[in-house]
Symmetry: C3
Subunit: 139 residues, 3 copies
């Protein structure tokens, strides 16, 4: 069994952002030399997500607006978590909707993707360096 472990670092300049990380992950699949296996990609921080969806700017804006409706940032006093001195309780909630991780099949040495699948890092409490783990196992 082969395996590869790599850590990607993202520091976005805004509180919230979506970053397309598909090409980063594809490079690691090639580097792993795994032909048949599984690729796990997960946020290592609990106010961020990794998810798969469409690389279309309007949709990413729709996600931002929709998540703000489901779990509003303000007023920050509505959340008990923020009594600890944080103001990011909403980020913990938004991350649950979008998910921590994706698991992707590797077939014939490549990510086995449908036509529109792209991998995104979803940041909900940015302005500091945060990590994404890529773990590949297979043969």
């Amino acid at each position: 069994m082969k395996s590869l472990t790599e850590y990607l670092i993202f520091e976005v300049k805004t509180r919230r952002a979506f970053v397309n990380i598909t090409s980063d992950v594809k490079k690691l699949v090639t580097k792993s030399k795994v032909q048949e296996g599984l690729c796990l990609v997960n946020a290592m921080h609990i106010t961020a997500s990794v998810f798969i969806n469409d690389n279309e700017g309007g949709l990413l804006h729709d996600y931002e607006k929709w998540l703000e409706g489901l779990a509003p940032h303000a007023p920050t006093t509505q959340y008990d978590h923020n009594k600890t001195g944080e103001d990011n309780a909403d980020a913990h909630l938004k991350r649950q909707v979008m998910g921590r991780e994706v698991v992707i099949a590797i077939t014939n040495g490549e990510l086995d993707f449908g036509p529109w699948e792209e991998i995104f890092y979803g940041e909900f409490d940015g302005k500091r360096p945060k990590r994404v783990l890529v773990k590949i196992i297979g043969e």
Copy 2:
């Protein structure tokens, strides 16, 4: 390490539907001859889900109604994504709530399931053929 890769195709006649795919996946586990391993089942399209829950018609209707409340289809003009000519922005949102994929343990050559676990394909923008990937690895 053994592996198996198969693609299931679904074309539902309505915009939204839930399809029980448990027996399809079980057959592929048997075909793989994997005794101990992992089974990934994921939608290959970004307006569809694969999830595990109860095979009970009332609940599936509850999901439909609940998702429509969380991410309404109409008015379609409320979503920036629909400015591209699509009318399926809500489907991209609903899919995030229900999830892209499931990962299931294989133990003694079978899906290692609790008593009520069943695998569903969730379609949120149907009336066309769409694929589900089943990837099995193990020994």
Copy 3:
């Protein structure tokens, strides 16, 4: 390839609760002797979740309140599923928001976690024994 399969049993005394299961899973990773691999942890019941987030009491209370807003328990007559004699339709919905499972990388024989990642069992229909599956594969 090595593998390990274990079942954890939880019986919480209340309808809803969050239980930190990180140390249970860590012990099983050690027991498996897997150095590089994947660890799947999933609820085997469809009204419960396994998820990764922050071990902070205020946040867990925020989740409880937020989920009750997204998928209220009462009135129980609002859900078709409850016509079967159940009163737990809301639990099936809450579980979809929080997720069924997590997949965690194992690196150098340990869970490859960011600084604040902890694994929780989320119970939404408790007062009875329910199982969580831990499946580890790797080398």
